[in-house]
């Protein structure tokens, strides 16, 4: 005897199926996208500049013609790990930079054999003017333009000149807003070398 099993439809099954309201899906997707971008913008604007004790953000540079680091025309900050780095932001139009350029060059000549890296980054500068400036001061340590102003944005510099002293582990040890002087360099660099 064959029995046919009949299933009774539940009330939910009986209810007519509503189609997907694509307009509502689009509405919610748009809302979420706008909220996501607003949140992203908020995070970006509240991102603090790298401070003393924090690891210095990594970046890549392409040196000016005639300049190099470790015979390389391009380099990343992370390549310099294990050596103290004096990262100096400057510009040819910056008057205060003129007070420190020679001091930095002398310090570079003094400490380069100890493995200290000096890295100049030209901020918002016109390349021929940067080159003329470096020639004027006879600067020999590695210099690179801040292409796309990416590095200065990453470090949230307040202006030029500004110098970050980064130790062998890549940690920022001091930030100098304004021109550096010989005494400061002779105090901070030996400390970074000793650690």
């Amino acid at each position: 005897m064959n029995e046919t099993l009949q299933t009774t439809p539940t009330p939910a099954e009986k209810a007519p199926r509503r189609g997907i309201r694509w307009s509502m899906v689009l509405l919610w997707a748009a809302m979420l996208a706008i909220l996501a971008v607003l949140a992203w913008g908020l995070i970006n604007t509240t991102a603090a500049r790298p401070e003393v004790g924090q690891v210095a953000p990594d970046f890549g540079v392409e040196f000016f013609d005639g300049y190099e680091w470790d015979t390389l025309p391009v380099a990343n900050l992370s390549d310099m790990r294990g050596k103290p780095v004096v990262l100096n932001f400057w510009a040819s139009w910056c008057v205060e930079c003129r007070y420190e350029t020679d001091t930095l060059e002398q310090a570079w000549l003094k400490y380069r054999d100890d493995g200290v890296v000096f890295l100049g980054v030209a901020y918002a500068d016109v390349e021929p003017n940067s080159i003329a400036y470096m020639k004027e001061f006879g600067v020999s340590f590695p210099h690179a333009p801040d292409l796309g102003t990416d590095i200065s944005q990453e470090y949230e510099i307040t202006g030029v000149p500004e110098t970050f002293f980064i130790d062998k582990d890549g940690v920022i040890r001091h930030v100098q807003i304004g021109a550096v002087d010989q005494q400061m360099l002779d105090t901070l660099i030996p400390q970074m070398l000793a650690d």
Binding site: S23, M24, L26, L27, A29, A30, M31, A33, I34, V37, G41, A91, S92, W93, V95, A124, D125, V126, E127, N129, P145, L147, G148, T149, D150, S152, Q153, G159
Partner: protein
């Protein structure tokens, strides 16, 4: 002098004035040489003057769409800082080299980032933030507006009407009763 030629045949006049003609030709020749010499003197000056033919207006036509990162909210054409002055000179140089406005703006975007342009190129984050999102926002707003409007127009669901009890027609004629019943049914529907 005009009296000399009175009653003298034309051929004779010509012969008599030969020296005068020669003098005139020499004068013309001297003038030509003088003109040529003047041209040779002035030509280099003209060429020299063409070394810097770019006017401030031409420079500012490009500069007004560029913002120097040093003074973010001031367009380059009116910014008084030294950095912006250097940038304006760079624009002048590039215009003198024959570069177009678009080429110069592209150079600035590449060198200093898209953020220096008043009208950033439609790519990457700029494309999303400045173009896609506003369009999505407007769409979302329209949909929301339409949805709310539809909700306002939709009539409230009516309560089911209570069945009207009417006395059944009883005419005594079954055919007529049937007819009246059908009419009442149709009217009721």
């Amino acid at each position: 002098m005009a009296d000399v030629y009175v009653n003298v045949p034309l051929k004779v006049q010509t012969l008599l004035n030969k020296d005068l003609y020669v003098t005139k030709i020499r004068k013309k020749s001297r003038l030509r040489w003088l003109f040529l010499a003047l041209l040779l003197v002035l030509l280099p000056a003209g060429v020299y003057a063409q070394d810097d033919p770019i006017t401030d207006d031409e420079v500012n036509a490009v500069a007004k769409d560029v913002y120097c990162p040093v003074c973010e909210s001031t367009p380059l054409d009116v910014c008084p800082t030294a950095a912006c002055a250097d940038w304006r000179e760079l624009i002048r140089t590039k215009l003198a080299e024959g570069q177009s406005r678009d080429e110069i703006l592209e150079y600035f975007a590449r060198q200093y980032g898209d953020g220096v342009l008043s009208n950033p190129p439609r790519r990457g984050a700029s494309l999303i933030v400045l173009w896609v999102l506003p369009i999505l926002g407007v769409l979302a707003g329209l949909l929301l507006f339409g949805w709310l409007l539809r909700g306002m127009r939709k009539p409230a669901p009516e309560a089911p009407a209570a069945p009207v009890s009417r006395p059944k027609a009883a005419t005594g004629d079954p055919e007529l009763d049937d007819y009246i019943a059908r009419i009442e049914k149709e009217v009721g529907e």
